[in-house]
C-alpha cells in the first residue's frame, strides 16, 4: 500500500490513475470498433476483457489508495470531528469558459464514486466474460464488444465527472450506448424502434438535466459539485413560473395569481425528471421493458446493474440540493414508492422471463429512490450495490436458460417464454443454484444481501424526517408577509413553518407501500423460479442423442402444445457463462454483511458518509440512540413477514398446486388480468395522448408551412404580379396610332394639371412658442388671398391698393395654447382658375406626463 502511495505523491491534485481507468475501456472500444474485423473473435475477446479487467484492477488500486488515505486522515483527526471528504482529482483540460465560471474536463474519485466505480468495472468485467460465451458465433461480434467497452467508458465518465456537464457527457454517452446495444440486432424493426424509444425517453430526462444545469448556473454561478455546494444558499431565490410574462388583465384572478417557486425545488424536480428518464421511474419507465429486445448481457449490464442506477447516483451526489427542498424529497420518495408497487403488479403476470426481470428492476429502482428520497442516501446506494449483484446474476441466469432454449427454439419471443420452460433443475444445476441464490437475495431471505439493504431502506423510510433549512423558513415567512400585507402573528408564522415539513402520514404510507411491494417481489420472483426450474420440461420432447440435421423440417418452433416437437437434452452453459454466475451469486448472498444495520455493522454507510455530509445534516430521525436501534429490530418483523407471506403463497400456488389457482384467478378476473398483462396499457395511453399530440402537431406544422406560409409569401405574390402584368399587356396593340393616342391622352392630363391652380399649404409649427407659419406653394403667375382668422373675410396682412389678390405666399399666425384657429387661403393662377384651401392649426396644451422612454430599465453596470 505504501509503495502505491509513494507512486502517487499528491493524489488530491493530480491522480493520473484515473486516466488509466478511463483510457483503457475507451481504447478497447476504439480498437475493437475500427480493427475488430481484422482481429477476429479471439483478438476482440482478449482486447475487450483486458481493457475492462485492467480498468477494474486500476479502480481497485484507486479504491484501496483512497481507503488508505481516508484512514490516514481520520486517524490524525480529533474525536467527534466529521471525517474529511478525501477526493483524488485529475484535471485533464479546460473544456469551455462561460461568463461567470469555466468548465474543465476534471475527474475525481471520492468514496461514493469509488464504490460505484468498483461495481461498474467489477460487474461489467464479469458480464464481459459472460458475453464472450453468450455472443459466440454472432457475425458482428467485434461491434458488440466495441459498444460494451464504450458503455463502460461512458459510465465511468458519468461516475467520475467532478462537475455536472461532465456527468452530462457520460449521462448521454450511456444513453447513446444503450441505444446502440438495444438496437444491436437492427435487422428486426422491433429492436431498432426499441432502441429509438429508449434514446428518446432518456432524452426527455436529459432535457430536465439540461434545464436544471441552466438554473443552477444562473443561481449559484458554478456547475462543479464543490462550487454548487459552496453557494447553496443562493438556491433560495425565487422564480415566477406562472403567469409567463405579462398576463392580460381580462383573465380571471385565479388564472393570473402568480405562482412562485424557489429554485431549490425547481432544480430538484428538474434533476429528478432526468433521473426518472435514466432510471426508468413512473412517467418515463416505458423504455426499460422494451429494452429487453437487446442481447441478455446488455440487459444485465445496462438495464440492471449500471446505467439505470445512474439516476440514484445523481440524487446521492446532489443530495445537498435535494435536501434543501422538502417537496422535492417528497416527490422522489413518493414516485419511488409508487413505481415499486406499480411495477411489481405488472411483474406478477408476465410470461416472458426477461420482462418479469425488467419490471422487477423497475420495482427495485423504486425502492432505491424511496431510500434516497427519505434522506437515507447511504442505504439507497447500498441497495444499488446489492441490486447490481443479484439482478445481474438473475439476468445472466435467465440468459443461460435462453441460451439453452436456443438450441431448439430460435424465435426470440418463444425462447424467452416461461411456458416453454420448466424442470430445468435437472439439466442445468449450476444455473439453477446460482439463480436460486440470487432469488433468495432479492426476495429478502434473512441474512442475504437483499434482506439487509431492502430492510434498511424500509426502516429509514419509517424513521427519517427532513428538516427545512433556516433560509427556507425565512423565505416562506417573507412570502407570507408579502401576501398578507401585514406582519404575521406567532401562530400564523408557526403554521407557515409547519407547512414546510413533510406530513407525518407520508413516511408511514411509504413504509406500507414498500412492504406490500416486497411481498409482491417475493411472489413473482419465486413464480419465475418454479415455472422455469421445477415441474417437467414443456419446451420439446427430449430425445437423448438428438441430432439437429435429421429433424430440421419443422423449424417454425411454435410453442403450441398440440404437436410437441422433439429436441436435444437442454445443456448446461459453458464455463465462461456459469463462472460469473457463481461469483455474482456469492456476492448476492454475502455482500449484505458490509452494511448489516441490525448487527451494527455499518462500515458501508460510514465509508459513504463523507461525500454526503452537507446532505445528511438536514436529515434527522424520530428516535435517537438505543431507542432507534430498538425500533430497528422491531421493524425487522414486517420485512421478514413480507418474505414469508410472498414466498409461501408462491410455493403454494406454483409448487403444490402446479399453477392451477393462478389459471383460475386469471379466468375469473378476465378483464383485470388482461389489463395487467398488457402492462396497464400505459404505452397505448402515451401513444394516444402525448405521442399522438406531437404527431398531429407535426403534421399540421408541415402542412401549414407548405400551404400557408409558402402559399402566402411565394404563390400569392406571384399571382398578384402576374395579374398586373396581364392588365398592362392589353395596352400593347402594336398599332402606331394607338401609342400616339395614348400620348395625346397623357398630354391632355398634364395640360389639365398645369392649367388648374394648386398652391398646397405647408405649416411649420413651433408648439412651444405657438408661432405657426402657413405657406402656400408658389406657381407661375399665382396670386393669393388670405383669411387669417377664419371669419370668412379676406383680411390680407398688407392690403395692396386696388385688388385683394396679393403676391404674399407666407403668413404667420399666433395661436394661444390649448386653442385652434382656422386659416383659409385662395389661390388664382394665370388662367384665372382659383382654389380655396383651409387648414386648422391646433396647439396642444404642454402636457407634463411625457412617458419615460420605451425599454426596460435594465440594471446594467458599465463593464470596465
Amino acid at each position: 500500500m505504501e509503495s502505491l502511495l509513494s507512486l502517487f505523491p499528491n493524489p488530491e491534485d493530480n491522480f493520473p490513475l484515473i486516466a488509466v481507468i478511463l483510457g483503457l475501456p475507451l481504447m478497447g472500444a476504439l480498437i475493437n470498433g475500427i480493427f475488430g474485423k481484422r482481429l477476429g473473435p479471439e483478438g476482440v475477446r482478449t482486447m475487450a476483457l483486458s481493457a475492462v479487467g485492467g480498468s477494474f484492477l486500476a479502480s481497485l488500486a484507486a479504491f484501496l489508495l483512497l481507503y488508505a488515505r481516508v484512514q490516514q486522515a481520520s486517524a490524525s483527526l480529533s474525536e467527534g470531528a466529521a471525517v474529511p471528504h478525501v477526493k483524488f482529482v485529475w484535471n485533464a483540460w479546460r473544456w469551455l469558459a462561460l461568463e461567470t465560471t469555466s468548465i474543465d474536463v476534471v475527474f475525481a474519485i471520492d468514496s461514493l464514486s469509488a464504490t460505484m466505480m468498483l461495481v461498474v468495472t467489477g460487474v461489467g468485467g464479469l458480464i464481459h466474460l459472460y458475453s464472450t460465451g453468450y455472443m459466440a458465433g454472432d457475425p458482428s461480434y467485434h461491434r458488440f464488444f466495441a459498444y460494451l467497452n464504450l458503455f463502460i467508458f461512458s459510465m465511468l465518465v458519468l461516475i467520475l465527472g467532478d462537475n455536472l456537464p461532465i456527468l452530462f457527457v457520460g449521462w448521454e454517452g450511456v444513453g447513446l450506448c444503450s441505444y446502440l446495444l438495444i438496437g444491436f440486432w437492427f435487422e428486426a424493426d422491433k429492436n431498432a424502434s426499441a432502441g429509438k424509444k429508449a434514446f428518446i425517453t432518456n432524452r426527455i430526462g436529459d432535457f430536465g438535466l439540461l434545464f436544471a444545469m441552466a438554473m443552477i448556473l444562473h443561481t449559484t454561478g458554478s456547475l462543479s459539485w464543490a462550487g454548487i455546494e459552496a453557494r447553496a444558499p443562493e438556491l433560495f431565490n425565487e422564480l415566477q413560473i406562472w403567469p409567463i410574462g405579462v398576463a392580460p388583465s381580462w383573465l380571471p384572478a385565479f388564472l393570473t395569481s402568480p405562482v412562485v417557486v424557489n429554485y431549490a425545488t425547481l432544480i430538484g424536480l428538474a434533476l429528478f425528471l432526468g433521473c426518472a428518464g435514466k432510471s426508468a421511474q413512473i412517467p418515463l419507465y416505458v423504455w426499460l421493458p422494451d429494452a429487453m429486445a437487446g442481447p441478455t448481457p446488455v440487459s444485465a449490464l445496462i438495464h440492471a446493474a449500471t446505467m439505470v442506477t445512474a439516476g440514484v447516483y445523481l440524487v446521492a451526489r446532489m443530495s445537498f440540493v435535494f435536501v434543501l427542498s422538502p417537496t422535492a424529497m417528497m416527490v422522489v420518495a413518493g414516485v419511488g414508492a409508487f413505481t415499486a408497487l406499480f411495477a411489481a403488479t405488472i411483474g406478477l403476470v408476465q410470461h416472458d422471463i426477461k420482462k418479469v426481470l425488467a419490471y422487477s428492476t423497475v420495482s427495485q429502482l423504486g425502492f432505491m429512490f424511496m431510500g434516497v428520497g427519505v434522506g437515507a442516501f447511504a442505504s439507497g446506494m447500498f441497495h444499488v450495490v446489492t441490486h447490481a449483484f443479484f439482478k445481474a446474476c438473475l439476468f445472466l441466469g435467465a440468459g443461460s436458460v435462453i441460451h439453452a432454449m436456443h438450441a431448439r427454439i430460435h424465435d426470440t419471443d418463444a425462447s424467452q417464454d416461461m411456458r416453454n420452460m420448466g424442470g430445468l433443475r435437472k439439466y442445468m444445476p449450476k444455473t439453477y443454484w446460482t439463480y436460486m441464490a440470487a432469488t433468495a437475495a432479492i426476495i429478502g431471505l434473512p441474512l442475504t444481501a437483499g434482506f439487509f439493504s431492502k430492510d434498511d431502506i424500509l426502516f429509514r423510510a419509517f424513521v427519517n424526517r427532513i428538516q427545512p433549512s433556516g433560509l427556507l423558513k425565512d423565505l416562506a415567512i417573507r412570502n407570507a408577509v408579502q401576501k398578507a400585507g401585514a406582519p404575521l402573528s406567532d401562530e400564523a408564522r408557526e403554521a407557515v413553518v409547519q407547512g414546510l415539513h413533510i406530513p407525518e402520514w407520508f413516511s408511514t404510507a411509504v413504509f406500507v407501500v414498500g412492504v406490500t411491494a416486497a411481498i409482491l417481489t417475493a411472489f413473482y420472483m419465486l413464480r419465475t423460479v418454479f415455472l422455469t426450474f421445477f415441474g417437467d420440461f414443456r419446451g420439446w420432447r427430449i430425445v437423448p442423442g438428438w441430432k439437429n440435421d435429421d429433424h430440421d423440417h419443422d423449424h417454425h418452433a411454435s410453442h403450441a402444445h398440440d404437436e410437441p416437437i422433439d429436441g436435444p437434452v437442454p445443456h448446461e452453459s459453458p464455463w465462461a457463462m456459469w463462472v460469473p454466475l457463481v461469483v455474482l451469486a456469492f456476492f448476492a448472498l454475502f455482500a449484505g454483511w458490509v452494511n448489516a444495520g441490525p448487527f451494527h455493522l455499518t462500515a458501508f454507510s460510514h465509508w459513504l458518509e463523507p461525500s454526503m455530509q452537507s446532505g445528511l445534516k438536514m436529515v434527522t430521525t424520530i428516535k435517537q440512540g438505543d431507542e432507534l436501534t430498538h425500533l430497528e429490530h422491531l421493524l425487522l418483523i414486517p420485512g421478514v413477514l413480507a418474505f414469508l407471506i410472498g414466498s409461501g403463497a408462491a410455493y403454494w400456488v406454483y409448487y403444490v398446486k402446479k399453477g392451477e389457482p393462478a389459471r383460475q384467478a386469471a379466468q375469473s378476473a378476465g378483464g383485470l388480468y388482461r389489463l395487467v398483462l398488457d402492462k396497464w396499457r400505459i404505452d397505448e395511453l402515451y401513444e394516444a395522448t402525448v405521442l399522438g399530440a406531437f404527431h398531429s402537431l407535426a403534421e399540421t406544422a408541415a402542412l401549414f408551412d407548405k400551404w400557408v406560409i409558402d402559399g402566402v409569401l411565394a404563390r400569392l405574390t406571384t399571382i398578384v404580379i402576374q395579374s398586373f402584368g396581364s392588365l398592362f399587356r392589353a395596352f400593347q396593340t402594336g398599332r402606331v396610332q394607338m401609342y400616339a393616342a395614348v400620348m395625346v391622352v397623357g398630354l391632355f392630363a398634364t395640360g389639365a394639371y398645369l392649367l388648374t391652380a394648386h398652391g398646397e399649404v405647408v405649416v411649420t409649427k413651433d408648439e412651444a412658442g405657438g408661432m405657426y407659419i402657413v405657406e402656400a406653394a408658389p406657381g407661375l403667375g399665382y396670386k393669393y388671398r388670405w383669411d387669417r382668422d377664419g371669419d370668412g373675410v379676406w383680411d390680407n396682412p398688407q392690403l395692396e391698393q386696388d385688388e385683394t389678390w396679393t403676391l404674399l405666399q407666407k403668413v404667420q399666425v399666433q395661436v394661444p395654447p390649448g386653442q385652434e384657429t382656422k386659416v383659409r387661403v385662395e389661390v388664382q393662377n394665370a388662367f384665372k382658375m382659383t382654389k380655396i384651401r383651409e387648414i386648422v392649426l391646433r396647439r396642444p396644451l404642454p402636457d407634463k406626463s411625457r412617458p419615460d422612454p420605451v425599454g426596460m430599465n435594465v440594471p446594467i453596470e458599465v463593464m470596465p
Binding site: 469558459a97 462561460l98 439540461l210 434545464f211 444545469m213 448556473l217 444562473h218 415566477q240 410574462g245
Partner: protein, 624 residues
C-alpha cells in the same frame, strides 16, 4: 502628352505580362490569345496595385494584404478559369482545387495572430472617395472562425461535387471560386457598401449552381432563393443610405464605414425602423420562421456541393451580419426587440423547424428544416445578448456548418447512387453500407447534440446564456426551457430518419448492391468528422480566440444602451468620451483605449518614405 507616355511607362509590367500571355496558348484563334493576354495584364496590374505603395498600419506579424489575397486569389482565379479551354476538365478541376487549398493555407495565418481588442489584418484603400466608400477589410474574433469555416468547407464541397457532376465543369469551377471570394469578402468587409456588394455577389454563383445543376424544377427554386434574398437586401440598402445621410448631416463628411456609422445614435422611432430594415434582410437569409420557405426548395433542388455551401456558409451570412450590423449599429433597438424576437426564434425556429422536419419524406428537405431548427438556436443566442450566449451562437454557427455540411454530403452520397431523395426508397442500408452507416450515425449524433460532439457545446452555451439574459425580460426561463425541449425533438426526427433508412429489414431490392463510401467521399468526410470531435472535446481552443472581441462588442453595446435610455428626439453622434461618460481615472483610460482600438485607428496617409517600403518588402519575402 508626356504624362500619358509616363503612365504608359509605369504600366510596363502589365504590357509585358499581356504580351507574354498572348503567346502562351497554342490555339490559332486570335481572340483566345487576346483574352489570355488581357487576363495576364489584369493580373499584373492587380499585383502592381497591391504592391505596398499605400502605407498600411503596420502591425508585427500581420501582413496587411492577407485578406486581399484571400479574396483576390479566388476572384482572379475565377476569371482566369473562364478563359481556360473547356475541353480539359481535369486542368480546370485541378486549378480550382489548387486555388482553394492555397486559400485555406493562407487563411491559417489568421490563427497565428492573437485576436486582441480591435481589428487585425486591416487593409484600407480608397474606392469611391466622393461617397466616402472605402475598400476596408479587417478580421476580429467574431469573423475569424467564419472565414476559416469558409476556406475549410468550400474545398470539401468542391472536391465532392467534382466526383458527381460531369457536365459544364468550367462554369462549376467559376461558381465555386467566385462564391468563395464573395463569401470571404462579406465576412471581412467593414464598409457597409463593400459588404452590400459582396452580399449581392454571393447570390449569383449560388443561383447558377442551383439553376444549372439542380434537379427537376430547379429554375423555380433558384429564382425563389434569389428573389427572397434580394427583397431583403433592398430594405437594407434603404436603411444604410438613411444612416449615411444622417451621419453626413451630423459630421458633414460622408462615410460608409461601419466604424464611423456605429457612432450615430438615431432617435428611437428611426432606430427601430432602420433596425427592422436591416434585421428583416438578415432574417430572410438566416432563415427565420416566417420567411424560411425558400430554404427547403433551394436545398432540394441544389446539387450536393451547392447544398453543402448553402447550408454551411451562406446561412451564417445572415446570423453573422445580424450580429455585426443589426446589433452593432442599433444596440438599443436590438435590445428592446430581443424578447419578442427570441420568442420567434424559439417557437418558430427550434420547435416549428423540428416538427416540420419530422414529417418530411424528402431527405434533403428534412435536413433543410433541421438547419432551420439549429439556426433557431444561433439566433436565440444572439437575441439573448449575453457573453456566454453570443459565444455559444458563434460556436454553433461553426458547428452547424460542419455537421449539416457533413449531413448534406452524406445525403448526396446515396443520392448519387440511387438518384432519389425519398426516404421510403431506402431501408436496411446498415447491412449493405456499414461504413457509411457508421459515419452517418456519428454525424447524426453531432447534429442531435450528444455531448462530446460539437453540436452539444453550442446548444449548451446558448441555453446557459439565454437563462441568464436580462434582455429577455420575464421570458428568459421559458425560452431556455423550450430551447432545451428542442433537444428532444432533434433526437426524434433524426433517429426516426436513421431508423427508416438504415435499420430494419432490406425491403427494396435496388438497395441490395449499393457500393459503400468510395475514396473521394471518404477523404471529404474525414476532416468533417475530425472537426466534429475536435470542437466537441476542445471548444476552448475556438472560444478563447473570439471571447475578447465578443466582450468588447458587448461592452460597447451596453455603453450605447445606457446612453440611449434618455429620450433623444434628434440623431446624436456618440463620440467615445460621451460613451465613457461617468467613468473616471484608470478605468476610463482603459475603456477609452479599448474603444479607440474598436474604432480602428485610421491608417495614416503618411507619404511612404523609404524606410517603411523596405520593411514591408521584407515581410513580403518571408511570407512567400
Amino acid at each position: 502628352m508626356n504624362s500619358a507616355l509616363g503612365s504608359l511607362i509605369d504600366l510596363w509590367p502589365a504590357l509585358v505580362a499581356g504580351a507574354f500571355g498572348a503567346f502562351v496558348p497554342k490555339r490559332p484563334s486570335w481572340w483566345e490569345r487576346a483574352g489570355v493576354g488581357l487576363i495576364a495584364a489584369l493580373l499584373a496590374m492587380f499585383v502592381m496595385w497591391m504592391w505596398p505603395g499605400a502605407e498600411q498600419q503596420q502591425v508585427a506579424g500581420e501582413w496587411p494584404h492577407l485578406l486581399n489575397v484571400l479574396i483576390g486569389l479566388p476572384l482572379i482565379g475565377s476569371f482566369f478559369i473562364l478563359f481556360m479551354p473547356r475541353q480539359s476538365p481535369r486542368v480546370l478541376r485541378g486549378l480550382t482545387l489548387g486555388i482553394l487549398l492555397v486559400d485555406l493555407l493562407a487563411s491559417l495565418w489568421l490563427l497565428q495572430v492573437p485576436m486582441s481588442t480591435g481589428w487585425h489584418f486591416v487593409y484600407v484603400h480608397e474606392w469611391i472617395p466622393a461617397f466616402g466608400i472605402r475598400y476596408h477589410v479587417a478580421v476580429d474574433g467574431i469573423s475569424l472562425w467564419l472565414v476559416l469555416l469558409t476556406t475549410f468547407i468550400t474545398p470539401i464541397a468542391a472536391y465532392v461535387t467534382f466526383g458527381s457532376i460531369k457536365t459544364r465543369i468550367k462554369d462549376l469551377c467559376f461558381s465555386f471560386l467566385f462564391l468563395q471570394a464573395a463569401m470571404i469578402g462579406a465576412f471581412v468587409a467593414l464598409d457597409l457598401f463593400l459588404f452590400y456588394v459582396f452580399w449581392e455577389l454571393m447570390l449569383i454563383p449560388m443561383y447558377l449552381m442551383i439553376g444549372v445543376w439542380g434537379s427537376q424544377d430547379r429554375i423555380k427554386a433558384a429564382l425563389k432563393f434569389f428573389l427572397y434574398t434580394m427583397a431583403g437586401s433592398v430594405l437594407m440598402l434603404a436603411a444604410m443610405l438613411y444612416l449615411v445621410y444622417t451621419y453626413s448631416q451630423l459630421t458633414g463628411e460622408v462615410s460608409f464605414s461601419l466604424l464611423a456609422l456605429n457612432k450615430v445614435l438615431l432617435p428611437q422611432q428611426a432606430q427601430l425602423l432602420c433596425f427592422w430594415a436591416f434585421a428583416i434582410a438578415f432574417f430572410i437569409k438566416v432563415p427565420m420562421f416566417p420567411v424560411h420557405t425558400w430554404l427547403p426548395d433551394a436545398h432540394v433542388q441544389a446539387p450536393t456541393g451547392g447544398s453543402i455551401i448553402l447550408a454551411a456558409i451562406l446561412l451564417k451570412m445572415g446570423t453573422y451580419a445580424y450580429l455585426r450590423f443589426a446589433m452593432g449599429l442599433f444596440p438599443w433597438a436590438a435590445g428592446t426587440q430581443a424578447a419578442n424576437l427570441a420568442g420567434v426564434a424559439v417557437l418558430g425556429g427550434i420547435i416549428y423547424g423540428a416538427l416540420c422536419s419530422w414529417k418530411q419524406d424528402d431527405f434533403k428537405r428534412l435536413v433543410a428544416y433541421s438547419s432551420v431548427a439549429h439556426l433557431g438556436y444561433v439566433m436565440l443566442g444572439l437575441f439573448a445578448n449575453t457573453h456566454t450566449s453570443t459565444q455559444g451562437a458563434l460556436l454553433q454557427m461553426v458547428n452547424h456548418g460542419v455537421s449539416t455540411g457533413a449531413l448534406f454530403l452524406l445525403v448526396g452520397v446515396i443520392y448519387d447512387r440511387r438518384h432519389t431523395r425519398e426516404i421510403s426508397e431506402f431501408g436496411g442500408l446498415a447491412k449493405v453500407m456499414p461504413v457509411y452507416a457508421a459515419v452517418f450515425l456519428v454525424v447524426t449524433m453531432a447534429s442531435v447534440g450528444v455531448p462530446g460532439t460539437n453540436g452539444f457545446v453550442g446548444e449548451f452555451m446558448v441555453i446557459m446564456g439565454t437563462y441568464t439574459s436580462p434582455y429577455l425580460g420575464k421570458f428568459h426561463w421559458v425560452d431556455a426551457a423550450v430551447a432545451a425541449f428542442g433537444v428532444i425533438l432533434a433526437a426524434v426526427y433524426m433517429l426516426s430518419v436513421v431508423q427508416k433508412v438504415f435499420f430494419g429489414p432490406l425491403k427494396n431490392p435496388k438497395n441490395a448492391h449499393l457500393p459503400d463510401l468510395n475514396v473521394r467521399e471518404g477523404i471529404a468526410l474525414v476532416p468533417l468528422v475530425i472537426m466534429i470531435f475536435v470542437i466537441g472535446l476542445f471548444p476552448s481552443v475556438f472560444l478563447s480566440r473570439s471571447s475578447q472581441s465578443v466582450s468588447d462588442f458587448h461592452t460597447r453595446n451596453r455603453l450605447v444602451w445606457n446612453e440611449s435610455q434618455a429620450a433623444n428626439p434628434e440623431p446624436r453622434l456618440l463620440t467615445n468620451d460621451i460613451l465613457a461618460g461617468s467613468l473616471s481615472g484608470s478605468s476610463r483610460d482603459e475603456l477609452m483605449k479599448r474603444l479607440e482600438a474598436l474604432d480602428g485607428q485610421e491608417p495614416g496617409r503618411k507619404p511612404d518614405d523609404k524606410g517603411s517600403k523596405d520593411e514591408t518588402l521584407a515581410i513580403q519575402e518571408e511570407s512567400k
